[in-house]
């Protein structure tokens, strides 16, 4: 009996120490936002993809397309020391992906295809099956995968003549008969949860805009070290001569183009 009482007292003391007098509980998850998580994560995926798609369009048309006409070069080896080139559109997306990864929000962005120039971008396994569905339907698909959370795969269309000509003429391209509006690949997004909140979407969009700015800034840093760097400034694109937009001008153009689509996504008309 005495033994039981001593054990009970010891256990009671431990419980009081650990639970009764203990400080407040730890938060269960990382940085939860204040409002309820009741929005389907597909809404977030549509919004972030719209921003990325418009950024890529502007980068492809206004930076790569217009830049090539005045002698700027773009290639896979753009990061090598001594190489005076900028990132091709697919590598600009990879740069955005890299900048997103540096940030705490667990948003993943990847690019793939069944006919990639770089074999490391080849879809395999289940992702290859999903990609076939995306090519057939020309619509995004959403799924979940244990250990990854929610996954969205959006089709990448050959939206500019530059996409088609570059891929058709590239020495390592496994396909040389691309046409405008073909689905050339897919952008994959990952997020750990299946629902989200308006606060979280706002935060993620803000993060993506910052990451986009930094990705573009990486190109500007490279350009500024060229032997004969092109003019960089806010007067783009109306200066009468070719100039690269500075970071703020680039972001402004992207936001102007993407905002209507993001807005219709967020208010539920899409």
């Amino acid at each position: 009996m005495r033994r039981f009482i001593l054990w009970a007292l010891t256990l009671a003391c431990i419980c009081i120490y650990l639970f009764v007098t203990a400080p407040a509980e730890l938060p269960k998850q990382h940085a939860q936002t204040s409002d309820a998580h009741e929005i389907d994560v597909a809404v977030m995926f549509h919004a972030v993809n719209a921003l990325n798609a418009h950024a890529r369009q502007i980068y492809t048309r206004e930076i790569v397309g217009a830049g090539k006409k005045v002698g700027l070069k773009f290639g896979e080896d753009w990061k090598e020391i001594g190489v005076e080139k900028g990132p091709l559109p697919a590598l600009f997306l990879r740069e955005l992906s890299f900048e997103l990864e540096k940030r705490p929000e667990p948003l993943g962005l990847y690019l793939g295809s069944d006919k990639p120039i770089n074999p490391s971008n080849l879809f395999k396994g289940d992702t290859a099956v999903d990609y076939k569905t995306v090519v057939m339907s020309r619509e995004p698909i959403f799924s979940t995968l244990e250990g990854y959370g929610s996954i969205a795969m959006f089709p990448d269309f050959a939206s500019a003549p530059g996409c088609v000509s570059c891929h058709n003429e590239h020495k390592d391209s496994p396909k040389n008969d691309w046409e405008l509006n073909d689905v050339m690949g897919a952008t994959t997004w990952t997020w750990p949860d299946s629902t989200t909140s308006s606060d979280e979407i706002r935060q993620i969009l803000k993060t993506e805009i910052e990451a986009l700015g930094d990705a573009y800034q990486n190109y500007l840093v490279k350009v500024s070290n060229f032997d004969a760097p092109p003019k960089i400034g806010p007067e783009w694109p109306n200066s009468g001569q070719f100039a690269l937009p500075d970071k703020d001008a680039f972001l402004e153009a992207v936001l102007n183009a993407a905002s209507p689509e993001i807005l219709t996504t967020l208010i539920g008309e899409k």
Binding site: R3, A22, A24, L26, H30, I81, Y110
Partner: protein
């Protein structure tokens, strides 16, 4: 019998006091008011000052000057909060994400010094769903999948042939090597890849165009085991220190 009961209670009580005391000592310097400058002082905790007695082995080359707390960060909350959360996890599957005393060392600690803007195999790329099968074999989505600390090894893999996990379908239209990559793949000569290719691509190393001029398998194995880098000591870029 009476004496034995008192003995058991004393031992249990002593153990509890010892555990709480040790935990309190561990966490004492977690209080910012009490802590020294944790970035500059290696000997800023009782544990750190005794690191020679409890580290598991020698440091990896280049890590010798690091303070313990560069990698071993305190877990969130006080010891009591952590025990509280872990007990609730055990009893009710409560879903707290907390470690006891110290956080598990993760890639983010490594990347604070080693993140590079031209990494050919950045770990985040392996978080892509299409690598789901690959990371089961080669956990390249984590620094600690291939590297570890306190064993003086540069790379902690037994085999050099891990490139096969992703590159078995490699096809080059314009092959720069005298023996084609297709031939190398056909003969399963995966141990030779690192003879020409620096995995992270951070050394100033020019890949040879002749197969026979590639770095030998033994030299790479020695490098894995902590020996001299066969790719040279000159770096294209140092890590992006945050």
């Amino acid at each position: 019998m009476k004496f034995r009961n008192i003995n058991i209670i004393s031992i249990v009580a002593a153990c509890i006091i010892l555990i709480i005391g040790l935990a309190a000592a561990l966490m004492a310097f977690n209080n910012p008011a009490k802590a020294f400058n944790e970035n500059n002082s290696r000997n800023n905790t009782i544990l750190a000052s005794l690191s020679e007695f409890h580290t598991l082995g020698n440091f990896v080359d280049g890590h010798d000057g690091l303070a313990c707390r560069e990698c071993h960060k305190y877990s969130d909350g006080s010891i009591r909060q952590q025990i509280q959360a872990l007990a609730k996890n055990a009893l009710f599957d409560a879903g707290y994400q907390v470690d006891f005393a110290f956080r598990k060392v993760s890639s983010s600690e490594c990347l604070k010094c080693h993140e590079r803007n031209n990494d050919r195999h950045p770990i985040y790329r392996f978080n892509e769903p299409r690598f789901i099968e690959v990371v089961k074999i080669l956990p390249a989505n984590k620094c600690l999948g291939c590297h570890s600390e306190h064993n003086a090894k540069t790379v902690n893999l037994d085999s050099l042939g891990f490139c096969a996990s992703c590159h078995s379908e490699l096809f080059l239209k314009n092959d720069p090597l005298d023996i084609s990559h297709a031939e190398i793949i056909k003969t399963n000569d995966w141990n030779s890849c690192l003879g020409c290719h620096d995995f992270h691509g951070n050394h100033k190393f020019k890949s040879p165009s002749l197969y026979d001029e590639s770095v030998s398998v033994q030299a790479i194995k020695d490098y894995f085991d902590g020996g001299k880098s066969p790719y040279g000591t000159s770096k294209i870029s140092e890590g992006l220190k945050k």
